[in-house]
């Protein structure tokens, strides 16, 4: 099981990488490679050229500020997960990242790479969509920002043009009065989730004013469901928009069952988290 031959380039500047990508229609970008290399080895993909961006400068950052967390294209999952400041600004990052594969994979795999790989069984594409974040992409034609809602085209397919490289992702901060939660069921912790669920709720005076849920492994693309008006039975509302499927790991019926079990649980966790944060903020304001 070896990859088919390909030409290889390891550019030292982004300009060089973009020019090479624009000039070679069969080229693919290699960052962490934790999804791409297995695809090459199994010969499910056979690009004519790999452009290894690991030597590019200034793309390894994890930069939290009051608005959110900016993650560069070469920031490994492990670096994002290790940032206490990032977890403070947007707690869902660390909650979800601890479920992304095993630590050994997280040491090499990049968060931005996982986003544009657009796997509906992966945690981070769903997280970006749930948080209404975005990805900045560059090409020889310039730079643009792609909102998460417009990033995912189909199974393992993003809307990026062939000559574009994703250089940075933006995960918005968790606003005051909001809470998040994440849970998933996998055969082994670190394996692909049979089902994963994240929740983002906003509260005002303890009352839920907005509630949205994101799902992993129950559809072809990362799906987010707004359940603000379905708080009495959020799982039913979610299942109306999800397409659980059979595979070697679980039946569609079992996946639907997990959606029913996890949905209320995760939603309750997120509401609890929101109220806890509001209480802490009130205490701080009083002090």
């Amino acid at each position: 099981m070896k990859p088919a031959p390909f030409a290889f380039l390891r550019p030292a500047t982004l300009e060089e990488a973009l020019a090479a990508l624009a000039g070679e229609p069969g080229a693919k970008v290699l960052a962490g490679g934790q999804s791409l290399v297995p695809l090459l080895s199994m010969r499910l993909a056979a690009p004519s050229m790999l452009i290894d961006i690991n030597a590019l400068p200034d793309l390894g950052h994890v930069t939290p500020d009051a608005t959110g967390v900016r993650v560069g294209a070469l920031a490994r999952h492990a670096h994002v997960l290790a940032s206490a400041e990032a977890a403070e600004v947007q707690p869902l990052l660390a909650l979800a990242l601890s479920h992304v594969a095993h630590p050994t994979i997280r040491n090499r795999g990049t968060t931005v790479g996982s986003l544009v790989h657009a796997d509906a069984a992966a945690e981070m594409p769903m997280v970006l969509r749930l948080l209404e974040g975005s990805v900045d992409v560059e090409s020889v034609r310039g730079r643009r920002t792609v909102p998460a809602g417009e990033l995912f085209a189909g199974p393992l397919e993003s809307t990026l043009a062939h000559d574009e490289i994703a250089v940075e992702a933006f995960f918005p901060a968790l606003p005051a009065g909001a809470g998040v939660a994440f849970q998933e069921i996998a055969r082994r912790h670190g394996d692909y989730a049979l089902v994963g669920v994240a929740a983002l709720v906003e509260t005002d005076g303890g009352e839920v004013t907005r509630a949205r849920l994101g799902y992993v492994s129950v559809s072809d693309v990362p799906v987010v469901v707004d359940v603000t008006d379905a708080l009495d039975d959020p799982a039913a509302a979610a299942l109306a928009e999800l397409e659980p499927a059979d595979d070697i790991h679980a039946t569609a019926a079992y996946r639907a069952h997990l959606v029913k079990v996890l949905t209320p649980r995760v939603l309750a966790d997120a509401v609890h988290h929101a109220r806890q944060r509001s209480a802490q903020k009130d205490e701080k304001d009083m002090a």
């Binding site: 031959p5 290889f8 490679g33 290399v37 290894d52 690991n54 090499r108 912790h189």
Partner: protein, 166 residues
Amino acid sequence: MSAPTPEELHDVRLHVNGSVHEVQVPARRLLSDALRHDCGLTGTHVGCEHGVCGACTVLVDGAPVRSCLMFAVSAVDAEITTVEGLTEAEDTLSPVQQAFSDCHGLQCGFCTPGFLTTITAGLKDNPDPTEDEAREMIAGNLCRCTGYQNIVKSVLRAAEIERERA
């Protein structure tokens, strides 16, 4: 019929276990294969070749990484440690190696190099793991012989040996 164009070779300088290896490899040479075939370091074992089993785990700049999910041409700037590099001066077994011997942490030994590298790095991050943390540490590595019980014991024993030797 014309002969196929020979594949382009790249000159790659790999830093492995403190030595420099100058190798000529095609771009598609996996780091695992470069270590075994080009550097002659056959301690790194190749199991599944798609990142699931963990047998090929090596340390890249001190962090465990699947060598079957990296190309040798991408490893030029890295300091690589394979299982051969864990052994201490005068052929003394490292704490993790000694613990596997003490606790019968291996049977056929095929998966062992990946466990040894993973646990060596894991104990640097967490020198005093609980049993649950030891299980989590090895969750990304498959073993088809031991049933893992003695590997978990080996993790805890290795932490003990590290403390004894300190």
